[in-house]
């Protein structure tokens, strides 16, 4: 591989974090049920994004060192619960290390056999189509098997500037 003509100035982790804190993100819970053990695995991402309408695809990225993602991925099918502003506790429970992270979270099983976290804004049932490594993360491309909006309108949970918040629509 040839080096770019404009050699990258070394950007330290602190600078990256400080600047990228300016980008607000939604918060999504990625969950699946282990097909053999029947237990639930879950993790939180701040990188869930729309990707393609035809075919229906979504994307997110995970740290390549994540121990949760390989376990979630093993099921083949997984769910994405888009978190609402009052679901910070879900975010904390799923961000923690350890087994059985959904034990203190209210959820029910979807027709696809995936866990849907109660109180979320929308649920996506997905199948992994592609994964590729980019630096210290893995980019996941998933096809959407089904998507369901919650009834009623709630505000989303937003992570921004190192803090949780919500969305205030412009007048």
């Amino acid at each position: 591989m040839t080096a770019p003509v404009l050699e990258a100035r070394r950007i330290d982790s602190d600078t990256y974090r400080v600047v990228m804190r300016h980008l607000p993100t939604g918060v999504a819970a990625i969950c699946s049920t282990d097909p053999v053990a029947g237990t639930q695995n879950g993790m939180i991402v701040g990188t869930f994004a729309s990707l393609s309408m035809e075919p229906a695809l979504v994307t997110f990225s995970v740290m390549h060192s994540s121990t949760s993602w390989p376990r979630i991925a093993e099921a083949g099918q997984f769910s994405i619960s888009l978190l609402a502003e009052d679901q910070q506790q879900v975010c904390r429970a799923l961000s923690a290390k350890g087994e059985d992270k959904l034990s203190d979270v209210a959820w029910s099983e979807s027709a696809w056999g995936t866990p849907h976290i109660h109180g979320s804004l929308a649920w996506f049932d997905c199948r992994i189509e592609q994964q590729f490594t980019a630096g210290d993360h893995v980019v996941v491309i998933a096809s959407v098997l089904d998507m369901t909006p919650a009834e009623g309108a709630s505000a989303p949970l937003i992570f921004h500037g190192g803090r949780f918040g919500s969305f205030r629509e412009n007048a």
């Binding site: 994004a49 990225s61 980019v139 921004h160 629509e169």
Partner: protein
């Protein structure tokens, strides 16, 4: 490279574009202007809601852009861009750059960044990148940029959700519970 799943492998689903739009509209996003300048000093720009952090080591970012974009093919040729994270007083700039056609950059105040690419005055952050990878996925291009420079700007980020612009609304969190990074 096209990594779109082959049609025979893609699940049959009744997800129409309008349902996709309706439900993905619930996802709040930042608003980021991807800007560049060509050899004729023509400034180019497009707006995406899919700009994301990707990797810390090495520093990478990514975004997705609709295949129908007329600006991206021109920006792609330059192989470098600035991601300007727009602030909540830059709605008019977002609207200008979202238009189709030439001269949409007309009159927008900006200054050249370290790569020569335009930094829009008043953005909350500037991330200068060279394109390291691009793949076709479905009806979008997925672009990965290697970060060469990054700096903070001014103001607070503009948000977009459900077809509406908005702002970040802080939630009071007890000080004893540190917010975890949602990476």
């Amino acid at each position: 490279m096209d990594i779109t799943p082959s049609p025979e492998k893609t699940p049959d689903s009744d997800i129409t574009p309008s349902l996709y739009r309706q439900i993905l509209g619930k996802l709040p996003t930042g608003v980021t202007a991807i800007t560049g300048i060509n050899d004729d000093d023509e400034k180019l720009g497009l707006v995406v809601g899919t700009f994301q952090s990707l990797s810390l080591e090495p520093p990478l970012v990514m975004f997705c852009v609709d295949k129908s974009s007329s600006s991206w093919p021109k920006l792609r040729k330059l192989q470098k861009f600035t991601a300007n994270i727009l602030s909540d007083d830059q709605i008019s700039i977002c609207r200008s750059l979202s238009r189709k056609g030439p001269e949409k950059f007309e009159g927008l105040p900006c200054a050249p960044g370290p790569l020569g690419t335009p930094h829009l005055d008043g953005a909350t952050a500037y991330i200068d990148c060279v394109v390291t990878a691009e793949v076709v996925v479905g009806d979008h291009y997925m672009v990965v940029g290697s970060v060469t420079n990054m700096s903070e700007g001014t103001g607070d980020a503009l948000l977009f959700r459900g077809g509406k612009f908005g702002q970040y609304l802080p939630i009071e969190i007890p000080a004893t519970e540190p917010a975890r990074s949602a990476s």
